[in-house]
Structure formats: C-alpha cells, structure tokens
C-alpha cells in the first residue's frame, strides 16, 4: 500500500465532477488528477489543499497518510 492514499475518485463521483473539471479547478493537467487518484503521484501540500477545497471537504478526508506504506 502507498504511504499516501486518497478518496478523490469517490468524492468526485459523489459530486459528479469530472477529472478534467477538477483539474481545471486546481490548475493541473487531467493526467495529474489520474495519477493522484491511482496513488501513483503524491501531490504537493498546496495542490492537496486545493483538491480538498475544490471538493469541499477537510484535507484529512481527502488524503490519508500511512506511516507503514511504501513510497
């Protein structure tokens, strides 16, 4: 399991927001949103906050840190 996991896909689906719409809101490419959702890229703190704000949830509801996960 990766050290940083996220619930972006579920939160996005609940709000019916597409990957491109989320990407536009936080100022990244759609490919970066895909990489974050697949736990293959850990975003910067700034982008993580932007994602949480765009989805209207606290940061820790979006991202979780597992100290035993591999990075």
């Amino acid at each position: 399991m990766p050290s940083i996991r996220n619930q972006i896909r579920d939160l996005r689906a609940q709000r019916e927001i597409t990957q491109q719409e989320l990407a536009d809101r936080i100022g990244v490419t759609r490919q970066t949103v895909i990489a974050i959702e697949q736990d293959k890229y850990s975003p910067s703190l700034e982008t993580a906050f932007k994602v949480a704000i765009a989805l209207g949830v606290p940061l820790e509801q979006c991202f979780q840190y597992d100290p035993h996960g591999k990075r």
Binding site: V28, T29, R30, Q31, T32, A35, Q38, K40
Partner: protein, 141 residues
C-alpha cells in the same frame, strides 16, 4: 495522442526529431565536417520549432503543473548523470591514449574527431533525458 498531455506530446516530437536528425548523422558516417554538425544543429532547431508550433496550435489545454516540472527535473538529472559518466570515460580514454603515446595529436582531423565524440556524448545525454521523461509519464511518476 488525445490522452497525452501537452508536455508529453512535445516530448514525443522531440524524440522523433532527435532520431530523425541524429540517427543519419551518426549511423551513416557523416560526422566528417564541421558543416555537417552546424547543419544538424540548424535542422534540429527548425524541426523542433515547427513541430512545437503545430502541437501548440492543435492542443487546447497547454497547462503544465508540478508533476510536469518534477518529471522534467528527473529527465535533466538522468541526462546529466549520463553526460558526466561519458565525459569521465572519454577523458580517461584520452588520458590513456596520450600517456601510451598512440594519440596522433598532430593529425589535422583530430579536432574534428574530438568534436564528433563530445557532440555524440551530448546527443546520448539529450536522448536519455527525453526517454527518461517519457518513461516517467508512462509510469505516471
């Protein structure tokens, strides 16, 4: 190509240009004049500019973000490591041949040979950089 980001498209274009221009230069034994090197550099610049303009015109979303910058840095690091390694090997071989005494430094073609060798190192480092960046995009980092 539709699933690729703007940066990925430009990287594939760069790789195609590098292979199209450097390939014939090195594999068809044309590294025998300064004019060929100058012509190749001009060809690279012209082809790159044309292809980048076409890609920019055809791509609506030209956003680059932190992941693009990270991948770019990884590519430059890989390219630098390859260039530094090749330089050390090249200088070591030069020192060896100069010490043993088989290096015909009075040969008028030596300068051109050195130019070709060091230019070849730059080309290998450049292609390494581009391939590393493409691989990072494919792995999604």
């Amino acid at each position: 190509m539709a699933g690729l980001s703007y940066r990925e498209k430009t990287l594939y274009a760069s790789l195609v240009v590098e292979i199209l221009v450097y390939g014939p230069y090195f594999f068809l034994h044309r590294q025998n004049s300064v004019n060929n090197v100058a012509g190749m550099i001009i060809a690279i610049i012209v082809l790159q500019v044309v292809l980048q303009l076409i890609i920019a015109a055809l791509t609506r979303n030209r956003v680059t973000d932190e992941r693009d910058r990270l991948i770019e840095l990884r590519g430059y690091r890989a390219g630098y490591l390859v260039l530094a390694s090749l330089m050390v090997i090249g200088l070591g071989m030069l020192w060896f041949h100069a010490t043993v005494g088989h290096l015909p430094l009075d040969n008028p073609m030596m300068g051109l040979h050195f130019l070709s060798v060091f230019f070849g190192m730059l080309v290998i480092a450049d292609i390494t950089k581009t391939v590393t960046q493409i691989a990072a995009y494919r792995r999604t980092v």
